[in-house]
């Protein structure tokens, strides 16, 4: 099938480009590892506070850290596309009969693979700190992470195609990602938050992903928050993919 073939071709091309610079996958790990080493210990003291979820500091914090990795690992991928737009690479590809959806999916799936590699590394690095995760839980977490990666990579590409300028892209990203992060309960659980903050966070889809991830890490795979978080991410990812693929077919540069 043409879409699958085209997606594979675009994916393989971008995977090969990434493989020439594997350092980036490791560099992507630096920030979460710093959080793990320099921030998570603070939570040990807070974990006994009323309102802090059960399960121990690391089983509460690492899920959040993973979602943060998903957000920041994927949201900035648009920068590489802006560079390609400027060079004329995207224009050249748009003149070929390649599927526009494949132009998006091939790239975004490369980003998802990168993200899953860093996520697995981060989970492995967290084990010595006392993180516990079962194989089925790991599978669910990686599936959730893949959806988050697809969602934010697609959005990032769509924005890159609309704005076509790093000068506009960078401040917009920071403006959007920071509140998403703060209102998701990544750093500290929202169960500690006052009621009004929790109400605002209820509008943040990422908060549901964090809830789902925490439930999985606390061995509550059957918890309704798991299905809810995965479903919300799946629907948004699908919408983002469609939006970004349309942006590819209309790109003006």
């Amino acid at each position: 099938m043409k879409l699958l073939r085209d997606t594979w071709l675009v994916f393989a091309r971008h995977m090969a480009i990434t493989a020439r610079n594997p350092a980036w996958v490791v560099i992507g790990l630096v920030q979460p590892v710093l959080y793990l080493l320099l921030f998570a210990p603070l939570l040990k003291a807070v974990a006994s506070v009323r309102g802090f979820p059960a399960g121990g500091a690391y089983n509460v914090f690492v899920p959040g850290l993973l979602i943060q990795l998903g957000l920041f690992g994927a949201a900035f991928v648009g920068f590489s596309l802006i560079a390609e737009l400027r060079l004329g690479v995207v224009e050249r590809l748009r003149v070929t009969p390649v599927s526009r959806l494949a132009l998006l999916l091939g790239r975004a799936l490369r980003d998802v693979v990168n993200l899953l590699v860093t996520s697995i590394l981060l989970i492995l690095l967290s084990v010595p700190f006392g993180l516990v995760l079962h194989p089925l839980g790991l599978a669910v977490i990686l599936a959730l992470q893949a959806l988050i990666g697809l969602l934010f990579a697609s959005l990032s590409y769509a924005l890159a195609l609309w704005l076509q300028s790093e000068d506009a892209f960078a401040p917009l990203l920071t403006t959007v990602t920071l509140p998403l992060l703060l209102l998701s309960g990544v750093l500290l659980p929202l169960s500690l938050a006052p009621a009004w903050l929790r109400a605002v966070a209820a509008a943040n889809p990422l908060a549901y992903a964090v809830d789902a991830a925490r439930a999985v890490f606390n061995d509550h795979l059957g918890d309704p928050s798991v299905g809810k978080g995965v479903a919300i991410m799946a629907v948004l990812a699908a919408a983002a993919v469609v939006t970004a693929a349309r942006a590819f077919s209309r790109a003006a540069a």
Binding site: A16, I17, L87, G88, V89
Partner: protein, 320 residues
């Protein structure tokens, strides 16, 4: 008679901007025959690239219709893409990827299998003299090499119609000459070529027909020679001894002279065909016993055509 490679009527494109709509292309009618090299000439911002991008399916037209390579541009963009090659103004290759890998990838996007794409890449690398740098990332290529890679990318699927958007801008003279040869070779193989340029000598040297576009409209269209003849024909300058009045009186009444005026020390004539006018002028002056000191024939350049059609010199535009 084969169907034309491009047939466009009333092609328009309006861009929205902060200061209101801008009509970049304001109704272009075009007919490009199969097998010809067609040049699209105009100053920056005249609508050359916008027209080209519409014809290459990159930009949907706001109005008008076009058939490109026998397919309807609006309804059948997919089949147009299968039949045309496009080399944009900017490079289309990723600097971190080798020329060979780019060509193989491009071939596969056009549906070639792995082996066929490898073979086609090798053919093109040889044809465009890129074998020496084929397996290096294109970041290390010279300007001419990168441009030839761009052209090779546009040729992977052997398109019958190739769009070249300012193919030689920024190349050194050698690189330009090399690319001109390539365009001629393609034409000899039967490829229709539609190119934009703001080099008049390039249009003159390469194109079978030229259209001049200004402010989104085609203001002139003909063969390069035909366009030049439209201007005012050739110019003959005569230096004569003594009063030029006698020579002026004699020559201005001749049927082949379109315009005659005296200038210090001589006469300036505009004639239709300079090479045929010269012997006649010599005979006339000899017969009237007028002493001729010098004679010079100059042909109008496409720049003169451009100046007349647009009121601006393209050379100044190009340098700006």
């Amino acid at each position: 008679m084969p169907s034309p490679a491009i047939e466009a009527s009333g092609l328009r494109r309006i861009f929205r901007s902060r200061r209101g709509p801008v009509e970049a292309v304001a109704g272009v009618d075009l007919r490009v025959e199969a097998g010809e090299v067609f040049g699209f000439l105009g100053p920056n911002g005249a609508g050359k690239t916008t027209t080209l991008r519409m014809l290459a399916t990159l930009l949907p037209p706001t109005g008008g219709a076009a058939a490109v390579a026998g397919c309807d541009l609006r309804r059948d963009a997919r089949r147009v893409r299968e039949r045309v090659g496009y080399v944009g103004q900017r490079t289309g290759s990723d600097p971190s990827v080798t020329g060979r890998a780019e060509l193989v990838f491009q071939g596969r996007l056009y549906g070639l299998g792995r082996d066929a794409a490898m073979r086609r890449a090798a053919e093109l690398l040889a044809a465009l003299e890129l074998e020496a740098c084929a397996d290096r990332p294109s970041a290390s290529y010279s300007g001419g090499q990168r441009r030839r890679l761009d052209v090779a990318l546009g040729l992977v699927h052997r398109p019958g119609l190739l769009f070249l958007d300012e193919p030689t801008t920024g190349l050194d003279p050698q690189g330009r000459a090399r690319l001109w040869d390539e365009v001629r070779r393609l034409r000899d193989e039967g490829t229709t070529i539609f190119l934009t340029t703001h080099y008049l000598d390039e249009a003159d040297a390469l194109c079978d027909r030229v259209a001049i576009i200004d402010h989104g409209r085609i203001v002139a269209e003909d063969t390069p020679d035909g366009l030049k003849r439209q201007v005012a024909g050739d110019v003959v300058r005569l230096g004569v001894a003594g009063d030029p009045g006698a020579a002026l009186g004699l020559l201005s009444s001749q049927p082949f002279v379109r315009e005659a005026q005296a200038e210090p020390g001589g006469v300036r004539l505009a004639v239709d065909r300079g090479e045929e006018a010269l012997p006649a002028i010599l005979r006339l002056l000899d017969g009237a016993a007028l002493e001729l000191r010098s004679i010079a024939l100059s042909r109008p350049s496409l720049d003169d055509v451009f100046l007349r059609q647009t009121g601006r010199s393209l050379r100044e535009e190009g340098a700006a």
